[in-house]
C-alpha cells in the first residue's frame, strides 16, 4: 500500500538547515493499522505529511498504491489525496461555516460526485459514526468527541483505502478517546489501512503494529502478531525492536 525508501525532508532557511526526516524507509501493507509514536519534534507529523502527500519530500522514493508519487504535479497529488487518502486531525479541522452534512460533503464535491450520490454516501458515513441526527448542526454545536467523529465521517466519505490520523484523540477525554479508537478499529476491520500518530502509549498498543520515530528516523517498531483481545493492550507487552 505504502512504500517509502530513503525519504528525506530538509527544511531550509537562509542560515539553518533542518533535517525533519533522514533516510526514512517504511512499508505498510494493505489493511494494516500502524501506530506511530515518538517524542515531540521527532518527525512524526512530517512523516504523516509526506505519507499524505501534503508536502513534497526532498529525496527518496515513495510509492502509494503502486503509484510513484515523486514525479506528480501538485494537482495530481491533490487528486490522489482526494481519491485514496482520508485525514483525521487532532484539532478536527472541521470548517466552522459549514454544517456537519456539508463538512462531510467537502471531499466528495472536489471529487465531482453527483448530488444524489453525495447525499447517500454522507448519510451512510454519518450513520456509521452515529451522528445521522446531527447533520444540520454546526461543528461548534457538538462536543469534541462528536466533532472528531464528524472528521472521521468526512475522512471515510470518499471511501479511502488509506487513512492517516494525527493524534486523533489528542483533544478528547478518555471516554471519547476510547470511542474514537474503537471506531478506527472498526474501520480497519472493514479493510482500510490506517496510520495513526499518537503520543498515547496505551492507544499505540492497541494498534497491531507500532513504529517509533526519533530524530527523523525510524528507530524501532513493534509488531503484534494479532490484535489485543481487550480494548486496551497490556502495558507490559514486550516491544520487538528491529532495524529497518
Amino acid at each position: 500500500m505504502l512504500k517509502m525508501q530513503n525519504i528525506s525532508k530538509v527544511y531550509r532557511t537562509d542560515s539553518v538547515q533542518t533535517h525533519a526526516l533522514r533516510d526514512f524507509s517504511l512499508e505498510v501493507n494493505e489493511g494494516e493499522f500502524i501506530a506511530v509514536t515518538g517524542p515531540s519534534g521527532s518527525g512524526k507529523t512530517t512523516f504523516l505529511n509526506m505519507a499524505g502527500l501534503l508536502e513534497p519530500f526532498t529525496s527518496g522514493q515513495y510509492t502509494l498504491d503502486g503509484i510513484d508519487v515523486g514525479g506528480l504535479s501538485d494537482n495530481q497529488r491533490a487528486d490522489l489525496r482526494n481519491q485514496k487518502i482520508g485525514f483525521i486531525f487532532q484539532g478536527f479541522n472541521l470548517i466552522p461555516d459549514l454544517n456537519i452534512f456539508e463538512n462531510v460533503e467537502v471531499p466528495l464535491r472536489y471529487r465531482g460526485v453527483s448530488a444524489k450520490d453525495r447525499k447517500r454516501r454522507i448519510d451512510e458515513c454519518l450513520e456509521q459514526v452515529g451522528l445521522a441526527s446531527r447533520a444540520k448542526h454546526l461543528p461548534q454545536q457538538l462536543s469534541g468527541g462528536q466533532q472528531q467523529r464528524v472528521a472521521i465521517a468526512r475522512a471515510l466519505a470518499g471511501n479511502p483505502r488509506f487513512l492517516l490520523a494525527d493524534e486523533p484523540t489528542g483533544n478528547l477525554d478518555t471516554l471519547m478517546a476510547r470511542q474514537v479508537m474503537e471506531l478506527l478499529e472498526e474501520i480497519n476491520r472493514n479493510g482500510a489501512t490506517i496510520v495513526m500518530v499518537t503520543h498515547d502509549p496505551e492507544l499505540a498498543r492497541r494498534a497491531p503494529r507500532n513504529i517509533q520515530v526519533v530524530d527523523g528516523q525510524l528507530a524501532d517498531f513493534t509488531l503484534y502478531q494479532g490484535k489485543p483481545e481487550s480494548g486496551v493492550a497490556s502495558s507490559n507487552t514486550p516491544l520487538k525492536t528491529a532495524e529497518v
Binding site: A78, N93, P107, D166
Partner: protein
C-alpha cells in the same frame, strides 16, 4: 461547482459583514465616480447616427488668399461663405445636400391669446430632413418648388406644436416668425440626440432648433446668424447684400455621399469649383485643397469631446484603481485569515485551481454587488452634474450600454483586486495549518 462557490461566497460575506461592506462600498464609490465621468464621455463621443455616419459628409474649402492662416489643425476654414454654400447646393451634381445656419425668431400666432416667445430656428433646404432622417409626426418637408418659389413655409418640432397648437395636427396652419407668417408643412419629433452634430460650430450640446424654414428665406428676410461668423480678409459690409457676397464664413453644409466613388467624385467637384472661383478672381491661390469629413471625423476634428473630458475619465479610472488597491488590501487580510480552512480543503483534495476559483467567485460576488451599488452612486453623481447646468441634461445620463458596462467594469476591477490574494491563498501549503489549528 459554480453554484457551490457562490453559496460559499455568500456565507463568507455574511460571516464578515463589516469587511465585506467596506469592500462593496469602496468598489461602489470607485464605479460610481468612474461611471459618472464615463457616461458623460460616452454620450459625448458616441456615434450619433451609426448606420449613416460614414455617409454624411461636411465639405471644407480652402478659399483664402495665399498667406492667410486659419485656426484649424489643417488650415481649412470650418464654415462656408453664403455664396459657396448656395453654389455647392445649386451645382449640377446628383447628391443630396443642404446648407444651413442657426438663427432665431420671436414666435407667435398673431393673436393676443398666445404669448410670443424667442425660439432658435434653422434655415435649411428640404434635403436636410432626408439626410438627417428627421421623423415627421404630421405632414412632410417642404417641396423643392415651395423652397424655390413659395418659401414662406416651416417645419416645426413637436415641442412647438404642443405649445402653440396643443399637439394637434397643425399642418396648413400659420405661424409667425417675427412679423412674417409661415405655413406649417410638417411637424417633426423633437431632436432627441444629445449631440447637435449637424452644427458643432455653435455648441454641439446646445439646445437644438425647434423651427426650420427654407435657406432661401435668408436673402428675402435678411436673416442674421445666431452662430459664429468669421472672415479672413477685411471687407466693408454696408448691408445684408454685402454679407451674402462677402468672404465671411458663417454657414454649414452637409452632403450625403453613399459610396467611396461618390465621395471621390464630390472631392473632384470641390477642387474644380475652387479652381473656377479662383479663375473668377475671388481669391488668389496657387494650390487648392478641401476637406470632406464624415460625421464622426467631423466631431473629432472639432474636438466635440475635449481633452479635458478624456483627462477626467482617466482620472476617474485612476480613482477606481485607488479603490482597487484598498480592496486588494482588505481581500488579502480576509483571504489569508482563511488559510487554515484552505489548508483543510487542500488536504481533502481541492486543487489549487479549485481554491483559486472559489476565491475569484467570491471576489466576483463582491464586485457585482459593488457594481450594482455603483450604478446607484453614478446616478447620484449624474444628477449632481445635471443640476450644475442644463447643458448637461441630455449628456449626464446612463444609457443601456453604460448600465451594462458598470457591473462589467466592476467585475474587471474586482478581478484585478482579487487576483493576487486568490493566487496567494491557493498556494497555501496545507501541512502548515493542519497541525496548528
Amino acid at each position: 461547482m459554480l453554484l457551490h462557490y457562490i453559496d460559499l461566497s455568500w456565507r463568507s460575506v455574511k460571516n464578515t459583514p463589516v469587511i465585506s461592506f467596506l469592500m462593496v462600498f469602496a468598489i461602489a464609490i470607485g464605479i460610481g465616480i468612474t461611471m459618472t465621468s464615463l457616461s458623460v464621455y460616452h454620450m459625448m463621443s458616441m456615434d450619433p447616427i451609426p448606420h449613416k455616419s460614414s455617409k454624411i459628409h461636411y465639405p471644407q474649402l480652402q478659399v483664402m488668399d495665399d498667406g492667410h492662416e486659419w485656426h484649424s489643425t489643417d488650415n481649412l476654414p470650418n464654415q462656408l461663405s453664403y455664396q459657396d454654400a448656395v453654389n455647392l447646393y445649386n451645382a449640377d451634381i446628383d447628391v443630396l445636400s443642404s446648407p444651413s445656419f442657426r438663427t432665431g425668431f420671436s414666435v407667435h400666432l398673431n393673436t393676443p391669446d398666445v404669448k410670443p416667445r424667442m425660439e432658435p430656428a434653422r434655415l435649411v433646404n428640404t434635403e436636410f430632413f432626408q439626410i438627417f432622417e428627421r421623423p415627421f409626426i404630421y405632414g412632410q418637408a417642404w417641396s423643392r418648388d415651395a423652397q424655390d418659389n413659395k418659401p414662406y413655409v416651416a417645419v416645426i418640432t413637436k415641442e412647438i406644436n404642443d405649445r402653440f397648437f396643443n399637439g394637434e395636427n397643425s399642418v396648413g396652419k400659420e405661424i409667425y416668425l417675427d412679423n412674417k407668417s409661415y405655413r406649417i408643412v410638417g411637424v417633426t419629433e423633437n431632436w432627441d440626440h444629445h449631440v447637435k452634430y449637424y452644427d458643432v460650430n455653435n455648441g454641439a450640446f446646445n439646445k437644438a432648433e425647434s423651427i426650420y424654414i427654407p435657406f432661401s428665406i435668408a436673402p428675402l428676410e435678411e436673416v442674421g446668424t445666431w452662430g459664429n461668423m468669421n472672415g479672413w480678409k477685411h471687407q466693408a459690409l454696408r448691408g445684408y447684400k454685402d454679407l451674402l457676397t462677402s468672404e465671411q464664413l458663417w454657414t454649414q453644409f452637409w452632403v450625403l455621399l453613399e459610396t467611396e466613388e461618390q465621395k471621390e467624385a464630390y472631392g473632384n467637384f470641390l477642387m474644380a469649383y475652387m479652381e473656377d472661383q479662383n479663375a473668377r478672381g475671388r481669391f488668389q491661390r496657387e494650390t487648392f485643397e478641401y476637406g470632406l469629413r464624415n460625421v464622426n471625423e467631423w466631431m473629432e476634428y472639432n474636438e466635440v469631446v475635449s481633452e479635458d473630458n478624456r483627462i477626467l475619465v482617466a482620472l476617474s479610472f485612476m480613482f477606481l484603481m485607488v479603490c482597487v488597491a484598498n480592496i486588494l488590501g482588505l481581500l488579502l487580510a480576509k483571504f489569508l485569515k482563511r488559510a487554515p480552512e484552505v489548508g483543510v480543503r487542500r488536504a481533502l483534495g481541492a486543487s489549487k485551481r479549485q481554491i483559486f476559483l472559489q476565491h475569484i467567485v467570491e471576489v466576483s460576488v463582491i464586485g457585482l454587488a459593488g457594481g450594482l451599488l455603483g450604478i446607484a452612486v453614478a446616478q447620484l453623481g449624474l444628477w449632481g452634474v445635471r443640476t450644475t447646468n442644463s447643458y448637461y441634461n441630455a449628456l449626464a445620463t446612463m444609457d443601456w450600454s453604460m448600465l451594462l458596462a458598470a457591473p462589467a467594469i466592476s467585475l474587471i476591477a474586482s478581478f484585478i483586486a482579487g487576483l493576487y490574494p486568490a493566487w496567494l491563498v491557493c498556494k497555501t501549503q496545507p501541512a502548515i495549518y493542519l497541525k496548528s489549528q
